[in-house]
Structures are given as structure tokens and as C-alpha cells.
């Protein structure tokens, strides 16, 4: 059997995509390399674990958290022991594995890049979750800031008490100039900003 044909059949075999005839065609290869069955079982187990651990859709509360989480995963992957290469059919199987993983790795890199772009709004990587209560999450890049969320049932309102903010001076709010309601304000395109 030619290598290209063998690789094609092995790839589809991993995903249970072979017809009976194709299975018969591949059987000599499988019987000659029984370790492929073991590898396939490990692959299926890994696939199931990935499906269980990665939610289909997630709405990240904040990119900072995900960036740190991704960094942790990358470090753990780097620390994992390397798998030794095996010769013959097994080596071609590993090449198939790499081909299969390439789109997944590309998707992960793109995902990390997008998260990095979004988190560029924060100029301090040390931002941290300072409070999480009443269906809301509060982050501050300042280490000395702490918060408390208070839900007032009587007035049906929510108060976020922030401690550690620097006081403002008279000149900051242009005291004496008068205050009034207005329709001032502006906006920026999110896509342009990040």
C-alpha cells in the first residue's frame, strides 16, 4: 500500500470513518503494528476529555483571567515529558497526529491573540479580581483598591463601596464653575480601539 493511501485510511480510521472495504484494506497495516490500537485508544480518550473539559461556548468575564489561565496551561504543557519517536508505521501515525493537531493549535494561537488584543485596554497586567458578588465582578489594576458590593433590598439598589481611591482636589472638578446636566460625551469604535 502506498504511504499516501495508508495515511488517508489511518486518519479516517481514527475518526471511525472507514467503510467495511476500507477496513479490510487497512487490516494488514494494523495487524503489523498493534501499538496503533493503543495509540488510537489514547487519542479517543484525550478527545473525550477535551470535549468534557472545554465548554462549547464561553463568555469570558475578563481577558486578564483567561490570559493568566492560558499562560498556566502553556507552562504545564512545557513541563510535560516529551514522547519518543518510534520508527516505521508508528512514525507516520505521529505525522498524522501533527496534521490533525495543526488546525487546533492555529485556533488556540488566534484565540490567544484576540484575547491579548482585547486585554490591551488594561495598561497593567497585574489587574486582579477584587470583588465578585450580586451577579457582578469588579476588577482593579491598583493593588490598594478594595471593594464591597452592598445590595439594599429596601430601595432595590446596588452600591459598590470602593476603598483606597486617591482623593480629588478642588481643581480636579473645577469647583465654582457651576454644574449642569448635559448631553456631552463621546464614543470610540471598539474594533478600532483594541
Amino acid at each position: 500500500m502506498k504511504n499516501d493511501r495508508k495515511e488517508e485510511l489511518l486518519t479516517r480510521w481514527m475518526d471511525d470513518g472507514l467503510s467495511d472495504e476500507e477496513m479490510k484494506e487497512l487490516e494488514p497495516v494494523l495487524s503489523g503494528s498493534p501499538e496503533l490500537h493503543e495509540e488510537r485508544a489514547r487519542f479517543l480518550l484525550l478527545r473525550e476529555k477535551l470535549r468534557d473539559s472545554v465548554p462549547r461556548k464561553v463568555d469570558p468575564p475578563f481577558p486578564d483571567y483567561f490570559n493568566s489561565h492560558l499562560e498556566k496551561l502553556v507552562k504545564a504543557a512545557d513541563a510535560a515529558p516529551m514522547v519518543q519517536e518510534t520508527p516505521g508505521v508508528f512514525a507516520s501515525f505521529n505525522r498524522l497526529w501533527l496534521l490533525w493537531m495543526a488546525p487546533a493549535v492555529t485556533a488556540a494561537v488566534v484565540f490567544a491573540f484576540l484575547l491579548g488584543m482585547k486585554s490591551a485596554q488594561s495598561d497593567n497586567a497585574a489587574s486582579s479580581l477584587v470583588d465578585s458578588a450580586a451577579g457582578s465582578e469588579v476588577y482593579s489594576p491598583l493593588a490598594n483598591v478594595s471593594t464591597e458590593v452592598i445590595v439594599d433590598r429596601d430601595s432595590d439598589s446596588t452600591l459598590l463601596v470602593v476603598e483606597g481611591l486617591a482623593p480629588l482636589s478642588d481643581s480636579d472638578l473645577a469647583a465654582g464653575g457651576g454644574f449642569s446636566d448635559g448631553d456631552h460625551g463621546y464614543y470610540v469604535n471598539i474594533r478600532g480601539a483594541y
Binding site: 459598590l160 480636579d172 449642569s180
Partner: protein, 163 residues
């Protein structure tokens, strides 16, 4: 030349019309309150006293319980644009205290919207608050001290476009 100018205006108008991010999905009112025991005269014109009920509610917070008077220094109502981050400047002539808000998800309920609100103090992002806002329910951020009192920033989802 006139033809070129007409084409330019037509094309720019077309580009603006095609931007789905500029769709208005609601309105947010941001404001700044001040709790004080001092004189209100030095605050100039335009301050508005808060209702007794709202003052009593604020006084439940330990940090504010000693203040006898609460006034509104300024506020602004702005559109929430679907794909844009909006900057709010509740006190018109001061950039020391600003807020940003941007919608985080599609409207799940008719009167609720998740907003990512940032509080900027003196050009520095100081706090980011991600929460679901409900139309008509004001949210208070008890902020920095100023003069002899305390500033309170308010954010209220004033309306939401029906889908």
C-alpha cells in the same frame, strides 16, 4: 470636481450606514453625587438636591452615614452603541472623573443588559465593573473623597430598545 465631491459624500454616507456597530440598543445615564456637611454655595449653579429616600438609602453605607446632605453635581445620558465603547463625562467641564461603558452580550431579557463599566480617575483606569443592569435601577459607586465630603458615581440603564 462637483461630481467627485458628490461621490465622496455618497461613499462616506454609505460606509456610515453600513456600520452595524452604530446601532443604538439603549441609553445609559451616568451621574456624580456629592455627600457633604458643608455649604452648597461654593458648588455654584446647577446642583440638585437628592430626594430624602435616596439620601436615606445612601446613609446606610457606613462611609456615608455622617453626611447630612446629598446633591447631584452633574449627569449625562448617552446612547449605548452595539459595537462601540462609550465615554461618559458626567461633570461637563472635568475630565478627572470619567466612565466608559460597552455592552458585553446580546440582550437576554427585555429590560436587562450586561455592561462593562470602567471608572477612570485622572486619566487612569481605576476600576472595571461587569454586571447586568436593569432599566430604571440605579447603581451607585461610592468613590473618592472630595473637599469635606464624598463623591458617588451613579450608572443607570435608562432605556433599552426592544428586540
Amino acid at each position: 470636481m462637483k461630481i467627485l465631491a458628490f461621490m465622496f459624500i455618497s461613499l462616506t454616507g454609505l460606509a456610515g450606514a453600513q456600520d452595524p456597530g452604530k446601532e443604538v440598543i439603549g441609553k445609559v445615564r451616568t451621574g456624580v453625587l456629592f455627600g457633604t456637611n458643608g455649604s452648597l454655595e461654593s458648588l455654584g449653579n446647577g446642583v440638585v438636591a437628592l430626594s430624602a429616600d435616596e439620601g436615606a438609602s445612601l446613609r446606610k453605607v457606613a462611609k456615608l452615614e455622617s453626611y447630612k446632605t446629598f446633591v447631584k453635581l452633574g449627569s449625562v445620558e448617552q446612547d449605548i452603541l452595539k459595537g462601540y465603547k462609550s465615554w461618559a463625562q458626567p461633570i461637563s467641564n472635568s475630565q478627572a472623573l470619567m466612565l466608559t461603558f460597552q455592552p458585553q452580550a446580546s440582550i437576554k431579557e427585555s429590560r436587562k443588559l450586561r455592561l462593562d463599566v470602567e471608572y477612570w480617575q485622572k486619566s487612569k483606569m481605576t476600576l472595571r465593573w461587569d454586571r447586568v443592569f436593569e432599566v430604571g435601577k440605579r447603581v451607585y459607586l461610592v468613590g473618592p473623597e472630595w473637599r469635606d465630603g464624598n463623591l458617588i458615581i451613579t450608572v443607570e440603564l435608562s432605556s433599552l430598545e426592544s428586540k
